[in-house]
Symmetry: C2
Subunit: 330 residues, 2 copies
């Protein structure tokens, strides 16, 4: 049995998108998964009616009257909006009433509430947002941090690598994840002071560190886990999404013009919409953040990511791995 | 009359690529432009023979026996390789024997030689590499710094903006260039300490500052000049190039499969190869850096960029603008 709380009021299309996403997830997940929809009970119930679904064995509603809006200060969210769907959902996880939390609400607020209520794991100075980046090899790459930490020290980058290592093992099926450091040259001395020192730490970490990865290598997926500060990570991620969207629109138009279906599978692997859910790694719980513009399928996939993290005992593995590493690297 | 020195031994395909590029430029430029090919005289002459061209009114050779290789330390290049085509070419410019210098040699070495020999303009702490980024609006955007300065202070970002402002006016035909600051959110307080302070400086600069520009805005060309540190700038640039190349290869294959020509003009605007030449801005001279893998057309375009910079008196404008700004912003 596993219970996953879904912030039903998070996305731009809430709660319709979330309800559809929950149903999508339930149709794909094993029967032991229950989704707990957190938000305005009447609106959620009305959406369930539209789908001719109901609260049943695998779907519950926990009422939360308020909603977090994008322009609220994340830092104060737990204190100022305790009755919001977001804070209520994280609270359920903190109290052990659910095993994981998923939200398409404002990233900063999801992070702040998760860090504040679930707490950081020992050995983690700064939890990081991981994002699955599609690559031309059709295997994804986990990039972290994707925007939570705009200024990072070398030891934060090392911690990101440790977190990503376990994630890649448990959720991506990579037994010996290749760790890369995002940099502007391939040699160890390239980049800035931060990357040079991070390179040194990663080399001594016992991780399968493959060295620096340049911007041009990203799309080819040279590594399984790409470590970066949140500034470059976020710029890259948002740019990636916009380019993928642009290319797909161009191909749509072209297909219409020549009245011939194009094989767009190679391009569509670049499209983020297929890949729901950025895990917040380093907190004592499973918290998965979705894009505010997520379609239902992306929400469904994020619930799948959360389920997989629970099923694989990822949090326990991370905690153990961090403790082992701390004993090895002073 | 204008003389432009071209490092004939810089690119991966040197000197064939450079000779073809020079001929390409001469066929497009006005008759007042002379290209001075700097490098191995015999090899350059042999290439000219292949094109049935010769040293004539608009083409000269200056012999330089050595060549800078990519793994040499840029810092020591002037001292250690004074006889290289690269250092010889910059030297011609320093002594006023040519009006501009173009090279597809190692970026760091071109920069180091240019800064060392041409010197920085007053008011410039760190010269920056500007790159023209194609956008879906079909107008290019100048991004700087594209990799010269991996750690930047806010005042460096302001200086990049001032340099970019004049470049956009003189070379891109934008009378009132829109300046954007690359950041991970749109509000002034977003980003890190550096971007928050840079935002403040730019707001007070008298420039047409439009605020923060996010990764997702880049492809749509929301500004004319995008200011960033060289780390994020370089990662972005290299990623951009690789994605464009990937998409074009996919469309090539698709075109062959369906045996129908696709209109690729919209995609091809993303391809860097069309856009030759990244100006090194902030030195007392015109120095244009090309990609090591540049095709002849890109070299030709870079010579065109250099010619335009000379013709518009860009260096004088930059010097005057920096002096005016220094008087206004203490």
């Amino acid at each position: 049995m596993m219970r996953i709380a879904l912030d039903a009021m998070g996305s731009d299309g809430a709660p319709a998108t979330e309800v559809a996403g929950a149903l999508h997830a339930l149709s794909h997940e094993a029967g032991d998964v229950t989704v707990v929809l957190v938000g305005d009970r009447a609106r959620i119930a009305a959406e369930l009616d539209r789908h001719a679904a109901s609260e049943g064995d695998r779907l519950e509603i926990v009422h939360a009257a308020e909603r977090v809006s994008p322009n609220e200060s994340p830092a104060a969210i737990v204190r100022r909006k305790p009755g919001s769907s977001l804070v209520t959902g994280v609270g359920l996880h903190r109290r052990g009433q659910v095993d994981a939390f998923v939200s398409a609400g404002p990233t900063g607020a999801v992070m702040a509430a998760s860090v504040f209520l679930l707490k950081r794991l020992p050995g983690v100075d700064r939890p990081a947002v991981g994002t699955l980046i599609p690559t031309t090899s059709r295997a994804h790459m986990l990039m972290l941090d994707a925007g939570a930490n705009v200024d990072c020290r070398p030891r934060h980058l090392l911690q990101f690598a440790l977190l990503g290592h376990v994630y890649a093992q448990d959720l991506m099926g990579r037994p010996k994840p290749r760790i890369g450091l995002l940099n502007i040259g391939s040699e160890p001395e390239k980049g800035n002071e931060r990357t040079v020192e991070a390179y040194r730490l990663l080399s001594q970490s016992g991780l399968n560190f493959i060295g620096n990865v340049e911007g041009r290598d990203i799309i080819h997926g040279r590594c399984d886990v790409l470590v970066t500060d949140g500034f470059a990570g976020n710029v890259l991620l948002k740019f990636y999404e916009s380019v993928a969207g642009f290319v797909i629109r161009v191909m749509d138009r072209e297909q219409e013009r020549i009245r011939t279906p194009l094989d767009r599978s190679t391009i569509e692997i670049l499209d983020y919409a297929e890949y729901g859910g950025a895990p917040l790694l380093g907190v004592n719980g499973v918290s998965v953040i979705c894009h505010g513009r997520s379609p239902p399928k992306a929400i469904g996939k994020a619930i799948g990511v959360a389920a997989k993290a629970v099923r694989s005992s990822m949090i326990g593995h991370i905690a153990r791995y961090l403790a082992e590493t701390a004993a090895r690297i002073p």
